[in-house]
């Protein structure tokens, strides 16, 4: 069962994932199938039902705003694919 609204290229772009044409075809078909299945939820009457984001209702948790030790810069950069002068190196963003 295919979901006709589902545009795999558009959504993959939103998700920042480059897909090969083969992947587009396969994932597009499988996701159409899964979306067909989850339409099952349309059977449910959810009138007046509050949405639930979390199992345990907790209020915001705050702490005192004080300086505490954290991971040193060198350790924070140690896993970076490219770094120099204490910075993450990325492609040019503005011309």
């Amino acid at each position: 069962m295919a979901d006709t609204d589902f545009d795999i290229q558009y959504v993959a772009n939103l998700a920042r994932i480059a897909l090969t044409p083969d992947e587009e075809a396969k994932l597009g078909y499988q996701l159409g199938d899964i979306l067909g299945y989850v339409k099952k939820l349309e059977e449910l009457d959810v009138t007046g039902v509050e949405p639930m984001a979390h199992a345990v209702p907790l209020a915001n948790v705050l702490r005192a705003d004080e300086v505490r030790p954290s991971i040193p810069q060198e350790a924070a950069l140690a896993n970076a694919p490219k770094q120099a002068n204490g910075l993450f190196i990325v492609p040019k963003i503005v011309e």
Binding site: A12, L27, V38, N79, P81, I93
Partner: protein
């Protein structure tokens, strides 16, 4: 043989100075050398680090440290490949993390170390905990020790396979929709998913943050209680961990089932349950009755919506959580001319197929124009599923169900049909959506081939102690937990 001991059996011998932690650690390494070529539970092992920790535990024992103060002192425990342990890899069985090494210890790791555990090895899993078979690992699947042609379940399949193959004295996994209980059932061990908020998620790579919980996989229920006690408790680093007291789970074991009210949800006894699984489950229900439990048939009318709700909520959360893997701050990078193409290339080549499928699904259900129809509706369905639990827990103490509708399936069987793979989680998923606790333990075997069958108890929120007592009473009255896979 040392590797055949349970966790509590080992601590008794360590306390009596009959064995050293180094001997126990070496026994695990020897066992791994002998059988892991077949099982493939471990992705990597830092042997020098493991033996060094064991020597430190032996020094602490010699100095007079006790298991009363440090219940895991000298006990080798293995970790799923998504826990941060300082200086060790945490690949989540994905290519995208490259040669990442954790810069810090997560809370579970720190608490286990404080309790004296010797933490070793990275256990295989479905990539980013997305899957039910370990077949989604970028580094090859693990095999079920009971039949190497079959999957060990997932996503914590390496954890379950390592315990069943007696390569460690317990392992730590995570459960988002059944990822501890389902592999425990398929491999014949005990797997516990604690209540949401019972164990800190700090230093655990996130899949779906409102569903993920950390829990132990062990040979016996008592060992599960020991590990849960060591890991539980409020953590200021995880704002969703709940500040409630941690009971002494081990001390509270030993009761019987007299007067315990067990609910049998009729919606779980669907057509399509494997006949041998159904027969073992029916026998387990009778056994609990014989031990004094009252069985009450109950109704949980929204059960059939669990899988659909889960695959919207979990993928939506995953699409947000996995946005951090962008090739900038850690992991592998695939270059591009601009940041946008760098992200797309890195993620396109770094993530495996199932992870891409779920991120794209999650992105879609959150996207403009579809949010209300999918995500908001699923959140409302989640409320209805939680209410089912609240209502039945007004009359019963716990629920009794099969863990999985069928025993371990053959590798490759469901790989081209993700929906069928998702539906194998049908009995474990609602517990995560409701945020309550659950445990799976062995309740028998199929005949040909001999494969383990899992029994699941689901408990009230923060009712782990009662859940462990029920599971322990059943376990001790049956022979299943003493059976081991022949390798």
């Amino acid at each position: 043989m040392l590797h055949e001991l349970t966790l509590s059996g080992l601590t008794a011998k360590l306390a009596a100075k009959k064995v050293s932690s180094r001997e126990a650690m070496q026994a695990c390494l020897d066992r791994i050398d002998a059988v892991d070529g077949q099982v493939n539970a471990f992705m990597s092992i830092d042997r020098d680090d493991a033996l060094g920790q064991a020597d430190a535990a032996d020094a602490a024992l010699a100095k007079g440290n006790t298991h009363a103060a440090q219940p895991l002192l000298g006990v080798p425990i293995s970790l799923k490949d998504l826990f941060c342990a300082k200086g060790q890899p945490a690949n989540c069985s994905s290519k995208i993390l490259g040669d990442f090494l954790s810069p810090y210890d997560g809370t579970v790791v720190r608490k286990l170390r404080d309790a004296g555990a010797v933490l070793f090895g990275r256990l295989n899993m479905d990539e980013f905990a997305m899957g039910s078979s370990t077949e989604n690992s970028a580094f090859g699947r693990s095999n079920n020790p009971w039949d190497l042609e079959r999957v060990p379940g997932g996503s914590s399949g390496g954890c379950a396979a390592a315990v069943a193959a007696q390569e460690c004295f317990g392992s730590i996994g995570t459960d988002t929709g059944g990822s501890i209980r389902q592999p425990a059932a398929l491999c014949g061990c005990v797997g516990l998913k604690p209540t949401y908020g019972r164990v800190s998620r700090y230093g655990v790579v996130a899949f779906a943050s409102s569903l993920d919980q950390v829990g132990p996989l062990t040979k016996e229920v008592r060992d599960s209680a020991t590990l849960l006690g060591a890991m539980s408790g409020h953590d200021p680093h995880d704002s969703t961990s709940v500040p409630t007291d941690v009971p002494d789970y081990v001390a509270e074991l030993g009761g019987d089932l007299k007067g315990t009210k067990l609910g049998l949800p009729r919606e779980f006894l669907i057509d399509g349950i494997d006949p041998e699984v159904r027969a073992a489950f029916d026998a387990a229900v009778k056994q609990c009755e014989a031990l004094g439990a009252e069985i009450h048939e109950v109704s949980m009318p929204h059960t059939e919506y669990g899988v659909a709700t889960y695959y919207i909520v979990a993928t939506a959360e995953a699409s947000a959580n996995l946005a951090r893997f962008d090739g900038i701050r850690y992991g592998d990078r695939v270059d591009g001319d601009d940041p946008f193409s760098l992200y797309c290339n890195t993620r396109g080549q770094g993530f495996g197929e199932e992870v891409k499928r779920r991120i794209i699904l999650g992105t879609y259900v959150l996207s403009s124009g579809y949010y209300d129809a999918y995500y908001l509706r699923a959140q409302k369905a989640r409320t209805l599923i939680k209410r089912d639990f609240e209502q039945v827990f007004e009359t019963v103490d716990a629920l009794i169900t099969p863990t999985v509708p069928a025993p371990a399936f053959k590798a490759g069987e469901k790989m081209d049909d993700p929906l069928q793979m998702y539906l194998s989680d049908i009995f474990t998923i609602s517990c995560n959506l409701a945020g309550t606790c659950g445990i799976s333990l062995p309740c028998g075997f199929t005949s040909e081939p001999k494969l383990p069958i899992g029994l699941q108890f689901l408990g009230k929120p923060f009712g782990e102690s009662e859940l462990l007592q029920i599971a322990h009473a059943y376990e001790q009255a049956t022979p299943w937990h003493t059976e081991r896979a022949a390798l």
